[in-house]
């Protein structure tokens, strides 16, 4: 077992365990912290896959910005208690069953995928480097890139609008 394989299995276990803990921990703050660990392990996967730029972006955007935002909201609402009402037992069992069977079905659907491509792990290629990505981004994908700025602008306007006080007319 090479060091890369050990790393792969470790990161995989961490991601799955973290995800499970996100779902099953009672305290929302714990959930957020476990989610951060999931994101870190996924970033690790990205590095294993030679996608260095995405690994960094994932860490900055998700683990940094977004999770801080989540934490901030949770703290703002003072929800660090474990008083969240639970769904009924049957509903939870049904939900878990359906989630599990979805996984089974997906696995069954994909089980025949050819396993011939085994070289995913080779540390080769440099497309994940920022130089290469930047070149494509600002040539082929420059229009979507610019449009995404408009998306952000509208998201910002939306957030401000929703955050304003006079919202009685929407939900009262």
């Amino acid at each position: 077992m090479s060091i890369l394989e050990i790393l792969f299995w470790f990161l995989t276990a961490l991601a799955l365990f973290g995800a499970l803990m996100v779902v099953f921990s009672k305290n929302p703050v714990h959930s957020v912290l476990w989610l951060i660990s999931v994101f870190f392990s996924i970033s690790g996967h990205y590095i294993l896959l030679n996608a260095q730029f995405l690994a960094i972006v994932n860490m900055i955007v998700y683990a940094g910005a977004i999770m801080v935002l989540f934490l901030f909201v949770i703290m703002l609402m003072n929800m660090n208690t474990e008083s969240e009402p639970q769904k009924s037992k049957w509903l939870r069992i049904a939900a878990s069953l359906s989630g599990g069977s979805l996984m089974l079905v997906l696995v069954a659907a994909l089980k025949d995928t050819s396993g011939k491509v085994t070289g995913v792990f080779k540390v080769e290629g440099n497309i994940g480097l920022i130089k290469n990505l930047g070149q494509v981004l600002f040539t082929d994908y420059v229009l979507p890139f610019e449009i995404s700025s408009v998306l952000f602008l509208s998201a910002m306007v939306g957030a401000v609008l929703l955050g304003k006080k006079e919202t009685n007319s929407i939900i009262s």
């Binding site: 792969f8 779902v23 989610l35 996967h45 969240e84 396993g115 491509v117 939900i171």
Partner: protein, 111 residues
């Protein structure tokens, strides 16, 4: 390491996300589960990108096949960030109005 492993990992993460969405009543947790699902998809995209890149590499050392998938992931992150902003704003507004983030109170679609 075959691509199958990555597929299985992604499917598992995605399903955990679904179970979370279905079982929890806290809107913020549900939101986090959606993020897990998004990340599962991102991971799979990157894995496929790597796979295609390695295949092309055999023929041409200077190939850039696979860049597109990584840029897709990049754009998904961009959209996810915007989505989170708006989503959290909605949740905050919700909390201010009904003093709860329990989605069971949000049954106004019925009326």
């Amino acid at each position: 390491m075959p691509i199958n492993y990555y597929i299985l990992l992604s499917v598992a993460l995605f399903s955990i996300g679904i179970v979370g969405v279905l079982t929890r009543r806290n809107a913020i947790i549900i939101f986090m589960c959606i993020e897990i699902m998004l990340n599962a998809v991102n991971l799979l995209l990157v894995a496929f990108s790597k796979m295609h890149h390695l295949r092309a590499l055999v023929a041409d050392r200077a190939t850039t096949v696979g860049t597109d998938a990584q840029l897709f992931v990049f754009f998904i992150m961009v959209v996810a960030a915007a989505e989170v902003t708006v989503g959290l704003a909605i949740i905050v507004m919700l909390y201010r109005n009904i003093h709860s983030v329990d989605i069971n109170f949000l049954n106004r679609l019925k009326h």
